[in-house]
Amino acid sequence: MSSDRPVQEARGRLDGFNADRERVLREVERRVVERLVERAGRGGDDSLEYVLNDVAVSEIRRLEAGGKDAHRWRELAGRLGDLTQPQLVDELHKLLRYYGRDIVGNFDPRVYKFATKVLTPGLGLLFSPLASLRGGVHGLLSELDSRIQVEGPLDLLRSMAERGTLIVTPTHSSNMDSIVMGLALERAGLPPVTYGAGKNLFTNPFISFFMHNLGAYRVDRRLRFELYKDILKEYSTVLLESGYHSLFFPGGTRCRSNVIESQLKLGLLGTAVTAYRNSVAEGAPQRRIYVVPTTINYRLVLEAETLIEDYLAETGKNRYIITDDEFSRLGRIVEFVRKILVHEGAVVIRFGRPLDPLGHDVDDDGASIDRRGRSIDLRGYFQGADGAVRVDDQRDAEYTRLLGRRLAAAYPRESVFHATHAVSRVVYDLVCAQAGTRDIYRLTRLPPNREVALADVVRGLGALRTQLAAHPEAGRFHQRVESLGDQAVVDDAVRALGGYHKRPVLSRAGEQLIVGDLKLVFYYQNRLAHLGAAS
């Protein structure tokens, strides 16, 4: 690649992205075409005809399933057999441009203008019952902002952002995450990031507004063919090489069950290794990439009901798009902000220490260190027997697996548990003990409104505190939980869980707690599921 890249050791950043966009797209196109043409030399499933046919067939299936016209793709599929190699390459270029534009398309300044100037007054009206939110979207932003608590080695991360490119990798619980992360980064004095967001999110104008501000690019999860995945990965790789700080949700989609994610999707994460390898190959190993494990810890989750219903109905499956959840209703978001974010620190974003793309720790100067704390040079990991940088995707996938393992270990350690999690855990344990099973499916068939003794909950909470204190690798309680007594924590959780969801999750009746929604108790306690039963 040429050395006259605009982004040097870059602050670079999203401000200049629109001017750089065409170069990024061209580079993605060039690389993907080059790779596929080279691979096509092997023939068979790698031939261009096969690659193009895969796209056409997949698009025909998708469009016709939705009752839409797939004429264009039928026509392409029909011609493929007659095309010469140069013509196939030409078609490939066309597809690259088509999908590339779909991915970056949202940076259109006119859309941005529309969102800021036209939508804002409308949103302001919606929020008018809230005196403090009269400033419209910006008012809401500042309100949200004061409720978001940011923790972690922020000075270190700010210096990393100067030295190299950050990849913020948060846990994913809610569609609010991208908004919350955007605010958290600003709050932390960290630069804005670019990230891939499901195309379905762009249909909600409110959310779309934030997406644009946050530098989102569009990921259309309905497109399942390999070429699209190749383009997305290459797009991310080029962005990272160009110094654009990025955000990935390694869990993939919002976690349905609310457990701390341990099964991570390595596809996009792998672009960290690829981008760094490319920089090393170019003779620029100083263009460092830092992966920042991050947890987003909500006292209550906006769309908890939909998520847990989906989990219980679909365990083991992976539906990407849930329609008609709380998120698509503006009123529900307003309610969320009003009811949930009345508490200081109702959302805690905790950043961990950064890792390098191979999963090593890094020291305060940004150098990678091995498990004995000695600084190491990453270049060697990419060298072949002759000392030159070698492209080896299988090797890099293994490196990414190591990174994924480190991230999965960091998540529980950097998690912050609210009263809602702690009390749900204790209540769930008590209900399970009563019923003689921990199986949620069997528990949900029990008669509703089970009761547990308040005194047992208070006692259980004390035991849970002792247990968590003995396992710092499993996370920590929120300061608020730390500072309140056991009884006060229970009251706090009952208040929170009783006041936001459709029906009270927990409510107090004399010296008993009544479980109004066992599924949500299960959902909230899942955050602590990695902490085994107390011995």
Partner: protein, 326 residues
Amino acid sequence: MSRGDTVGIVGAGGFGTALAVALARAGRPVALYTRTPAVADAIARTRRCPRLPEVAIPDGVQVVQEPSALAAVARFLVVAVTSTDVTARLRELGASLDGSHLVVHAIGALAAPDDVRVSAVIAAQTPVLRAGVLAGPASPRDLAAGRFASMVIASAFDEVTREARRLLNLPPALRLYGTRDVVGVELASALAGAYTVALGLADGIDVGPGPRAVLVTRAVAEASRLGEALGGQARTFAGLAGLGNLLVRSGTEDDPDYALGRALARGEVVTDRLTEGARAAIAGMRLAQRAKVRMPLLDGLAAVLAGRATVADAARLAADTVAAEE
């Protein structure tokens, strides 16, 4: 000699020396690392290693005594030291190695004192990520004599397997098979040592071919169960690292593990009961208990080694359990 084409061998024991000799005879550049001055001196003076005195060491084998010198001359390293030494050796080497190195070990045992797989020690003590394990029925004698031998190379990195084959394959004398089942190969190879002791016991009391065959097949079955419980693949235990190792070692009179079993069976007073195989039996039992896997043969062997049971007790116990288990 290019660094990428040089094989660095850590440890001038029987296997390390034999491998160095075999490679050098084929014209491959070899650096043999030993930290023992007496061994280095002996090789320099006589071109013989005290640990394998019957074999002459070709001039192509360069002896190095400094970790930094080894790291500089070779990118690909084979670690062939005892399981009791491996942590300390890798710790010394770790200071000189870097991300460019590929390390495979040929240690058929778990590392003392915590029964961890040697690949975990490589990860903890060195910056090397591209690591693997080499195992199978290639005795030092066979290697040095150029007799047909095969081994298996296991690594999560295909590059390590490719490089091991490029640098170590010596057809027809040594052939390498590849797999990604690192856990399986490490366990199979360690447990093969333990079952070699058990076969020594059985042969020592002359159980005969029928019971011997039962013993071998049950050993493979129970080792496979443990391997699967710990993340390995069952079929690895029926391969070169497991069954292959066991068959060759249990037929070799001077194999230390086999010799230990026979000596115990004959009621001889054995001063050194802690061979690699004996240690693997004890370590294997601890792993089995943690993983809640039943291993009657290993259990009986561990009891004999610990002096908790006589050979006859163990044989009876094993026979009963074998009958109940199949």
